[in-house]
Symmetry: D2
Subunit: 374 residues, 4 copies
């Protein structure tokens, strides 16, 4: 469905980096949700470039809700959020208009849109399009929180610098998420922050860029959400995550480390504790057979280094195909991974909310539990 | 959409491991495709358990096409493939009926289906449901091949044993895929096969299991396939891959290794060679901005060790919640990763075909290329 | 989505009239529904050709549920119903293989499927494909009935003969539906039955055919089901109804008679009675703004005369395009409208159940009613 | 999908009558279409209230394309059209805030959205939301025209006054559509216009309203577009048409008149003329088996009288449920049917374009025609 996703909460994004406006439309939101605009603004603030380790394009990102909101509450009809583009320096892109930027979408957009794409600032491929996703995600996060479901992301790794990992239980992670919510630079460990900032600054100084890995947790999701096959929790979550530009890897729980483990080492023993079915370990990241088991959902997302670097690169002219040396101009991030945390939280919230509503639908007309029939 | 996926080629799977039959319905197949039944059978043969490193359940897997085929050709209407279940030992599951198997879907199915799920042999969660996927995938692979698109998968890693990786170019990979197509045990390197067989047999001897990583390549896909956001090539491919039981990680190109690289190291320089835009390296795995760039699509899929091990495990009774020791009975695989290659090929083929048809749709009514208008 | 429809209850049909089997797959059914197989058989019996006013093809229509059912209850996974084809006289169609039958799909299938369609007995276009729809509909009708929602259809008109119409209230219609449920020939009025049988027999005697109008009622559907725009109750119901072969008109409530009425004559005054918001009249057929208002949903469906008539007809050869006189062979119905009632009930049930589940989803996570917040 | 529709051209509408703005997002448009803004404006002009037979709310309806357009051409990414609301008299609705307007969506919205809906001016249920549909439709009409496909609608009937009908052939209808395109009041016959204007004015004088029937034609659509079952041309067209407020009936070709005809009277004899397969008559309205046959697609749409009348009506208070007499205030149309023609053209264009693109997709990778294989 291209730029639209979701079964219950149908999310459509639109806009180009240097066009009039960017935005998002959310259809299917329950009526009667009092939107917390302060939270939405705070989320957008987290996504913003704020310091020397980020781009110098400074957009106000003032959100305007142009439909679906009445007297502060969702009215049940499509809620559309618009953000006008303002601080554009389109001329920066004239020099590279005919030089395909390596590892960007310049060539692929050219092939797909036959030359008609808006090339300025990356157009629809710009990371800027994630701003409306963050605004939409803020609403999803708010609804989920009202149902006891929390989501948070920290920087597991940035280049060589590593953070500590999430704890194993819902309760322990809850405390970690509360701390993270107030941090400007999303690490669990203070030393990790310093190390990562240093890594990014060093890359910036030499005109280079770095990437990393994010670890996300979803806690409070009841067991039974997800589908056995094509809409497995992993399928749907990965689908949303891979929509975010620069994501090149997604794994769950023990992730790629499963590859050299024995079954006996990574099977999660089951126990009954605090009146709840739980597992002793959580290698499966809260998901079995595509369905949540009540343990924390743990997700790892790999973000590649931003392709816009100031170092010279080999490329070709997009029309003549002649070899060229490209030196990118404009304002770019040496790393977007710290700004990506809130984007990942946002798309996770949209994914989880969609599946959670499906669960509500089927449960509410379902027969009684089998054992109770006996 | 639960057990249905696809926009153009709509694939619906059904069946339980010990039910009457399992099957798949493919809607949207072009009319006039002469189905190569020998190829379909050969693919199913690859998925089968054949030796001591696999389960001893031996299903004939005789496919019966009950609709959509007329005089050997697809007739354009839904093509339904049915495989009757025969070699079932349902009694094997009575002992564990009330003991939740760790890292299986027993508990999550119980929560989702309120106790009504068919628990025998894993029911709808069984790896057996991938047999119809392989049959469906055989048709997709055949159509893609007719359009010059080839797909193949090898065992990149099985526990500690590693295979060599795919080459960097379409031409070189083509040769590798042709070799792989005839191999019973899908490695590129003969030594790797021996090492992996040994790893699996050792695990089997101690009642344990192993997993690994698969590397897949899609070659011949033209540039311009995929969407910038929610239907990025990565999103759609990951969605299909995560439908396969036991998949816990999916990455593209350089994958999680992007995390500690500099942009200048992993950006793929662009050049024009053999009358084609190409990249010098292929860290991005053939995808930029969610869209194919004409280079080989490279995908890594992590398969966790099969959770059915013969070693004793801690669990609980699903009704009383009392602690139990579980010793799994029945016939199980110490590894499914070698049998998973053909399943991965199959779902990749379904994913790629769906996106490829979208491309055909938009291209065929599209305006001329911009430059040509000047 | 071609042969698949639905958001919550995803229904996929397959099969050709003279192929191996026809069938349907229902995904999304809640687990724990004890399927009433006797009711399903009774519904299929109603659809069958039984007397001289129907085709002489006599199919047993033995339904086989090959997945999704365990110990008599739905297990939450895709439920697939298969009906094997048996009483086929494919040779009857050889003579007309190259003569396009007027008002049939022969030519359009030829254009769509490029000559590869299964032409025997109308292939996938055959009315026979409605048998699985009836089986699927039986399940939907059963679930709806458990939630107090009833659906029924009678022959409002057959050629010149007319039946009385449904009453205006849910209670009165309930009695009418209970009577209809036991009738072999679905009219409300006994005299209408005699007149309609006579009309059909007369048409049969001269090798001709007749059509008519069906009136359907859905009662017990709570207010608030449906969507304001693209999934209005009317949109979704019409979508399903027009899937049934031979349907050429669909209208709601006062239908086309609205065209020459004044607003003051057809606006439905609102009153509060029996602790329920009701309308004095029901010109709007229970739907305002695309959403149910709690009054009976009233639908009119026009069925064209069956195109298979024994009279000579002008046509052309499908390859040479030469003019031909066609005299149809085989076994055909002089009217299908009486057999169509149960088909209409079935697709209505599938449509209503899908929308009803959506309502359950959004309600179950919704905020409290606005007034209650004050 | 609530407020989103389409497989290839995904159309999402949003906005409330007295909210900030209304709009539409079109995703999937081919890149490189030079949008004819003058045509779009002309179409919106046709929808506008212009004289004494229409509402006195005068909106400029200035369309602003905020994404998806670059240098005058579609760039392949979501094209979003926004229309700001300006001439709102929200106070007009205060008096009726608590009185449910008969045959409006006040009560159903209240049940669906639990009191949170934006009630002002009908909110999301307002006919005003059709303005963005007209803007979107203008683009679809333009693309179709470039492919030789034309769509037009005239007022077949307004209360008792009737127009002549469309001719039977593509060529003859083409001339009629060209004439209609320039008419302010869309009738084929001048006398019909006078009679209809008179009918509407008379209704207006007594504070009443009228409805009618629209006849639409789609010409130039190649044979082979549509699907045999759930996406039959009739299903999809009816789905889109019933999205338009006030539509209560949709029929094709001979429509409800099929009910009292014999098969021999209404079967369309097939002939080969002008190097094209054609039918002698067109009772089936260009569709057989859900698929276009190359003859004109003929559709009849019944529009009910506008429910906003100035006469006193019986209703209840929405909170207390006490009986009330309602006298509607504000600015309302005594008829919307003449303004509805362009809306019907627009949704038809969106429906036809979506199906036409599906056809392009399947054809472009399809095998050769069967006969050619021999």
């Amino acid at each position: 469905m291209k730029n639209t996703i979701g079964t219950h909460i149908i999310c459509t994004i639109f806009g180009e980096s240097h066009g009039d406006a960017i935005g998002v439309c959310l259809d299917g939101l329950p009526a009667g949700i009092q939107i917390d605009m302060e939270f939405m603004k705070a989320q957008l603030e987290k996504r913003k470039a704020k310091d020397r380790i980020s781009t110098q394009r400074h957009e106000k990102d003032e959100v305007r809700i142009i439909s679906g909101l009445f007297e502060g509450y969702t009215c049940g009809t499509p809620l559309t959020i618009m953000i006008e583009n303002q601080d554009m320096h389109s001329a920066d892109y004239d020099a590279t208009k005919y030089r395909l930027r390596p590892s960007h979408a310049d060539y692929t957009a050219d092939e797909k849109y036959l030359g008609y794409q808006d090339y300025r600032g990356g157009g629809h491929f710009s990371g800027r399009i994630t701003a409306p996703l963050v605004a939409a995600g803020a609403i999803a996060l708010q609804i989920l929180k009202d149902h006891g479901i929390m989501i948070g992301t920290h920087m597991e790794q940035c280049h060589k610098a590593k953070d500590t990992l999430f704890e194993a239980t819902n309760q322990a992670i809850k405390l970690q998420l509360e701390t993270l919510a107030n941090k400007e630079f999303p690490t669990l460990n203070e030393d990790a922050e310093a190390a990562m900032r240093s890594v990014i600054e060093q890359a910036a100084q030499v005109g280079d860029s770095v990437g990393g890995i994010l670890e996300s947790a979803v806690i409070g999701l009841p067991a039974g959400v997800g589908e056995p096959f094509f809409d497995s929790l992993e399928s749907v979550i990965a689908h949303y995550l891979y929509s975010v530009p620069a994501v090149k890897g997604v794994s769950f729980g023990f992730g790629f480390a499963f590859a050299n483990a024995y079954g006996s080492q990574v099977n999660d023993a089951i126990l009954f504790d605090q009146n709840k079915v739980q597992t002793k370990t959580n290698h499966n990241g809260g998901i079995n057979g595509g369905i949540s088991n009540g343990m924390p959902i743990i997700i790892h997302t790999c973000i590649k280094p931003t392709p816009s670097i100031y170092k010279e690169q080999e490329t070709i002219d997009r029309i003549s195909h002649e070899a060229q040396i490209l030196q990118i101009q404009g304002r770019h991030d040496p790393a977007i991974i710290h700004r990506a945390c809130v984007v990942i939280d946002s798309v996770l919230a949209l994914a989880i909310l969609d599946l959670y509503m499906e669960r509500c639908a089927s449960l509410s007309i379902q027969a009684k539990r089998k054992e109770e029939n006996l």
